[in-house]
Symmetry: C2
Subunit: 332 residues, 2 copies
Amino acid sequence: MNILLSCVGRRTYIADFLRPYLQVGEKIIGTSSVALTPGFSFCDLGVIVPPICHEEYIPAVLDVCNKLEVGGVLSLFDQDIDRLSNFRDDFLDAGISPVFPSADVSRICFDKVATANFLKEHRFHGPKTFSDLNGTREALREGSLHFPLFVKPRYGFASEHVFIARNDAELEVFFNYRNDMIVQEKLRGKEHSFDVCSNLDAEPLAAVFKEKLAMRAGETDQARTIYDPERLELAFRLARTLGCPGPLDIDLFIDGDRAAVLEFNPRFGGGYPASACAGADFPRILVELMRYGTYTPDTLSYRNQVFMMKSYQIICGTEEELNDNVVYASDI
Amino acid sequence: MNILLSCVGRRTYIADFLRPYLQVGEKIIGTSSVALTPGFSFCDLGVIVPPICHEEYIPAVLDVCNKLEVGGVLSLFDQDIDRLSNFRDDFLDAGISPVFPSADVSRICFDKVATANFLKEHRFHGPKTFSDLNGTREALREGSLHFPLFVKPRYGFASEHVFIARNDAELEVFFNYRNDMIVQEKLRGKEHSFDVCSNLDAEPLAAVFKEKLAMRAGETDQARTIYDPERLELAFRLARTLGCPGPLDIDLFIDGDRAAVLEFNPRFGGGYPASACAGADFPRILVELMRYGTYTPDTLSYRNQVFMMKSYQIICGTEEELNDNVVYASDI
């Protein structure tokens, strides 16, 4: 069984984390639409596929999976997951485990308005969210909403075009900067996250609670694990309500007793290496699930106060050297 | 002789690049104002110093240098260089090579208005730069300036609070977002950079020309070297005019025949690993300069078309493990 890391990008560590659980001869295959992809250097094989939005994308991924005996597909990129999620059945029909959610669940994660509606419907605390200026201004007038406010793209990621508006003039200009902007209450408290791992039936198996200590380009740059079983109940309840096979990253703010969920992504979060180091071995669970369809973890425990920091890994070489293990999907 | 990497931050690779040129027993010492610093893990010793702006900062750094037999100081952070540059003589008096520029030169690099004035005075092409709205609007009316325009902090770094204004309403809100904003013409063409290395008398010894292929959080994420001796003349002329000991990173845009300089920083740039891999061994030059005060490079050549990509290096552990080699300056 080989494993496909779809849109492997620059999270090279995921390949490193999976590798110990492969058997002799099994491969990690990464995909990307561009040859210059850091993750390729950490995969056994890099495959260049059409861009995610291209009509040939899904057929190409399925073709790669079939020809290269892929047993399970894990994606590292939200937009990719949103596309793949529409074709879960095609992967299942081909005997490949899709370690990503259904289209409905992906949409709840990917669309910040859908996220807000989901949280409200299921009585999780979350930020007040507005998709129009009139509603925002009314809430401000009523006193149920206060500056500063986040103004960000409804389908945004990596903190791109995220503004903080401190008055109405800023609110108006930021809101009109793109045509898909939303306004969101700035949550109080410290930023935390959960890493959750669920089985292929979307039943959560393990979770880790962490504090984010530093962010960079929208990604967790430093974090520490906090062992707090009571707090994990929120992670399990949200994961169970949502229903997301594989890894789920939940961002939340803790302000005293109140925990408010900002967003969640159906993939490994940027802070996951802290959890891995603390003993929450999701890659092992995922490989077992892909291989046998089922897995019962020994224990849900992990080490408290494990710190994680990121720095740079440098990958250098000529084009030839870097593309040594890279092929075009159409050439397989 | 030991080497001090001041404000070592997350550029762990600089320590790795310097290490081969140390003699047995010589140490790389990193400083930071916080214990959780990725760079510490790649230094022989990490020293926690007061914050850069604190009045005890310079005495603490000098004290560390004296007690730990530091022969040369290299800083990796613009704000730190701007502070250290006022105390070059104190380092020289203590027999320590300051591998950073004078306060005048640092100010030209650090202050985007001073940069623009320097470029204009010495007839280098650069972006039209305005520090007030009236001047900007007049130039727009005259037709000598056009939207879109960059609006950014005069002393900013890491792309923080950099906006792109496409109309007057955006220009006004972005300009008023902070009280130190400037407006800058958006340069046409592709983003490139020079890595220059000068001796302690600020005479440039070597330079590399690169194309930036991807940016992330204001830092070069992917780049390739281009061997083009004619193009390097601009790098040498600018470095010689400016006068900056040690490494100098110059950002420029190439549009056909026209090269316009955006800015320059008196330190290793984020794309330097591409140059290192291509054979432009600045760390070797710098260690020789610190050790002997002089260095004549064998050759100014480097390999063409060497690509560099960055991914994540993960540093994990308990607080105790991560601070194994870290001390407070006051405890030395």
